[in-house]
């Protein structure tokens, strides 16, 4: 027995469909993937907020701005 239901390739290919492992768990995989996607946005937004706060509070100096503007 294998994770994808195939033990050998001694088969007629017209009888073969899906060949990925753990068939039957597709809905669970989708739920996990969607959750990961939403968590990614939440983490990213928090990180971005922190970065912006850092730049606002610690680096707002005239010479830094002029340096950035002069580089064009």
């Amino acid at each position: 027995m294998s994770t994808n239901g195939l033990d050998s390739w001694a088969v007629d290919l017209k009888d073969v469909g899906a060949i990925y492992p753990f068939q039957g768990s597709e809905v669970l995989m989708v739920i996990i993937a969607v959750a990961l996607w939403i968590v990614w946005h939440i983490v990213q937004l928090k990180n971005e907020n922190k970065e912006i706060e850092y730049e606002k509070q610690h680096n707002h100096r005239k010479e830094n701005i002029e340096h950035g503007v002069d580089r064009y």
Partner: protein, 452 residues
């Protein structure tokens, strides 16, 4: 796959779409180069990552729900024949379906899905260029998912599907996506820009617009050349490469196999090759003259020419394609500056004009040039008309493009998550990253010198 001819056709079609995907990848490379070239040095990394990260975000969401929308929504929801959701067609394209996977019984779904997905990236990438140097990445990526995996694919289901209600009722014809990609993305970009506002310094105190030149014109031009190259894949992906009348199942008689557009109406790869190049040429020639040789606008004009003619490039004569491309490009150039001056819209790369206005105008012109021609090989469909095309253009640019972008941007702005603060915009969006980079260099140099 029973029978050698059937097997060969299936494998050819599989490979055909796969090649279009590889070509279309170049569109994204081009957009990245173009945007980074147009941005200023203190915003490079932010600009690059903003566009790059839309790739995974749109890809996974297009897998989760975008592809299902295309197959389930041609008549809805609540537009044509009751609820209008085709559950049966949608079922095979749900993310947990066996056909959306490694499956020896289905060789087409993956490559067909990917071809549409690359269109999704393009739609989101068009918006990306317009909003550079002041939008928050997190806000943009939510917009990218909305345009790339929701709104454009709804419009594709409605107007770029052989069974779409716009094709049936309006005779909507948009063979190479003037509206379904370009008008909607341009409209969406405009909806974001209205709320986002211009970059600091874009307008003088009296409202006069200032030019903010690209920091690297070469990157911009090479990026646009890349987009031209990728556009070949885009055009090819809009066709079904070969299909029999029997398989189409419409009104076509006889046994001659043919290439078709997305509506399964016949065309040829030769026709679209002629028309792509002639409309590109019409756009370049017009843009060079009207912009007085400005490189940025000449290259953009080439794109605008193709985009304007795209709606009807399956049927136009090459000279018609050239003239349509030229007319569209003239309108695009003039409109960009009128809108900039009058409404204070800072579209950093001219995306609203090159994609949005060109797409809109192209749809309307197509309605006149192909007036009365069949929009579909199936019985009972409306024929192509100016009013059907105008209604389609309004739906694409306004209803599915501008409106949702404006509403979502308003919500984001109210939550304070749309735009970076003024002091950070002045400082440069890459400040933290560059500071860490310079500190790391100083650190390692000091360490190495101490060993000398």
């Amino acid at each position: 796959m029973d029978g050698n001819l059937n097997a060969l056709t299936t494998v050819f079609t599989e490979f055909y779409y796969w090649v279009t995907v590889v070509f279309m990848f170049l569109i994204h490379v081009g957009f990245c180069m173009y945007e980074v070239g147009a941005s200023r040095r203190r915003n490079h990394l932010h600009t690059l990552m903003k566009n790059t990260m839309l790739i995974p975000l749109v890809t996974i969401t297009f897998f989760f729900f975008g592809w299902w929308i295309y197959w389930a929504f041609p008549n809805g929801p609540f537009i044509y024949e009751g609820l209008g959701i085709n559950w049966d067609a949608g079922e095979a394209n749900l993310p947990w379906s066996e056909t959306m996977s490694t499956n020896l019984g289905d060789r087409i779904t993956g490559v067909f899905w990917a071809a549409f997905l690359l269109f999704s990236w393009t739609a989101a990438s068009i918006v990306s260029g317009a909003v550079i140097e002041r939008i928050r990445s997190g806000a943009f990526w939510i917009h990218a998912v909305l345009i790339g995996s929701v709104f454009w694919i709804i419009d594709a289901a409605w107007g770029w599907h052989y069974d779409g209600w716009m094709v049936k009722l309006l005779g909507y014809h948009d063979a190479y996506a003037s509206g379904v990609i370009h008008a909607i993305a341009g409209g969406y970009a405009l909806g974001v820009l209205v709320v986002l506002g211009p970059r600091l310094g874009k307008f003088a105190a009296d409202g006069t617009p200032r030019d903010i030149p690209p920091h690297n014109v070469w990157m911009v031009t090479i990026g646009l050349f890349m987009i031209y190259t990728g556009f070949w894949g885009f055009y090819a992906a809009c066709n079904v490469p070969i299909i029999s009348p029997e398989l189409i199942g419409g009104q076509i008689t006889g046994e001659v196999w043919t290439a078709t557009n997305i509506y399964l109406a016949p065309t040829t790869l030769g026709a679209i090759t002629f028309n792509f190049l002639m409309s590109l040429s019409g756009g370049l020639l017009m843009a060079y003259v009207v912009s007085k040789g400005d490189a940025f606008w000449t290259y953009s004009g080439g794109l605008a020419g193709v985009i304007t003619a795209s709606a009807g490039n399956d049927l136009y004569h090459p000279i018609q394609a050239m003239i349509v491309g030229g007319i569209g490009t003239w309108c695009v150039y003039k409109l960009h500056f009128i809108v900039e001056r009058k409404f204070k819209i800072d579209d950093a790369v001219g995306a609203v004009a090159v994609h949005g206005y060109a797409g809109f105008i192209g749809l309307v012109i197509c309605g006149f040039l192909l007036w009365g021609a069949p929009a579909s090989p199936f019985e009972g469909y409306a024929t192509i008309s100016p009013w059907g095309q105008l209604a389609g253009a309004i739906i694409m640019f306004g209803v599915l493009g501008f409106l949702p972008a404006f509403i979502v941007s308003k919500i984001m702005a109210a939550m304070g998550m749309l735009r970076v603060p003024e002091e950070v915009e002045l400082l440069g969006l890459d400040f933290s990253t560059e500071e860490a980079y310079e500190n790391a260099i100083a650190d390692v140099q000091a360490a190495e010198k101490s060993m000398a």
